[in-house]
Symmetry: C2
Subunit: 206 residues, 2 copies
């Protein structure tokens, strides 16, 4: 049995959808960020980083989205969510997810989490002002060079897709009009039609 | 044949060492960051992100360190640089590398690359002042919870080790005294004794 710790509106949605796609038996537990539950002693004992998601497995607890997505895919091979026997295609998939993790998500985080990297209110405001520009630049690259269509890796749905879907959900709040990104917009629409996406969203919002 | 594009002092060293460890046939090409060669039309045709490292393979070009490290390990299995047949251990390894990529490296990048996320000189100065604190916090977590010793994953050397080694090389410049981190300091010393590390460093510095 797998257990996912998540909070609404966070990157945990990518793992949540992937669990739903995989056919795994899983449960979820919601953390309340408003009461800073992610930094409670109980949760820090599960994930000392004080972040979501965390995935509790029979072997121990995993953190970091790119690692968790591959773990779920590798543990439930019948769902065919990643190309493990093709080193180059697997690397392209990982490269996409690593870009989302270390560039796109990081840019987004500068809107609300400037305190991680600076101390002055004026710096936080400066960072916040730049979000529409940095997020638009990332998604222009994704639209032009990275998203093959209809899925990220082309004809085959992989663990890149729920990850991209999760981050495209932030575009409106980050001041980027998804209508300027036709391939990304089409991807988002296709994802919304998938039963696993609907199931995960219902669990988060229900 | 593999070809690595790198610049001295960058995260490309992790892939460089891993190539040397793997037994691969490889060549390297140095980019001159002082003349902004990473943003030249020639290099942007290889890597539209304008960053290093890039790894040119017979199949195409890969970017993003965590993906490249796994690709090298998977392509040269005799070197046994990653546990592909154990999903949980593989995920722990990936989780470590993802933390280096999306948290530790990102913190470090705020010293010289504040323009990625802000616009005002005062914000850059503010970010720069926080580097010793954010890097010390990351490495305290690595020392306490993540680096098992003697290697990152315990008794077995993996692709986590050259990645950690590359980032520990930034500590002094980031205002963190490695002597306060005995396990990290021991790891750095052990890495320096490896022929592959010496070979890669000689190629970068030679």
């Amino acid at each position: 049995m797998l257990k996912l710790y998540y909070a609404p509106g966070t990157v945990a949605l990518a793992s949540h959808i992937t669990l739903a796609e995989s056919g795994a038996d899983y449960t979820t537990e919601r953390l309340d960020f408003k009461t800073n539950q992610q930094n409670s002693p109980e949760y820090l004992a599960i994930n000392p980083k004080g972040r979501v998601p965390s995935l509790v497995t029979d072997h121990g607890t995993l953190t970091e989205t790119p690692a968790m997505l591959v773990y779920i895919a590798q543990s439930f091979p019948k769902a065919k969510l990643a190309p493990f026997d093709d080193a180059y295609t697997f690397a392209q998939m990982q490269s996409f997810n690593s870009y989302l993790c270390s560039t796109v998500h990081i840019n987004h985080a500068h809107k609300m989490r400037g305190y991680r990297w600076a101390t002055d209110e004026s710096s936080y405001a400066d960072m916040k002002r730049k979000i529409p520009q940095t997020m638009a630049a990332c998604f222009a690259l994704i639209e032009r060079d990275m998203l093959r269509g209809p899925w990220v890796m082309g004809e085959t749905y992989t663990i890149c897709d729920p990850y991209l879907f999760t981050l495209t959900g932030w575009l409106e709040g980050d001041g980027v009009d998804i209508a300027t990104l036709p391939k990304v917009a089409d991807h988002r629409k296709r994802m919304m039609d998938r039963p696993a996406v609907q199931k995960a969203l219902a669990e988060v919002n229900g």
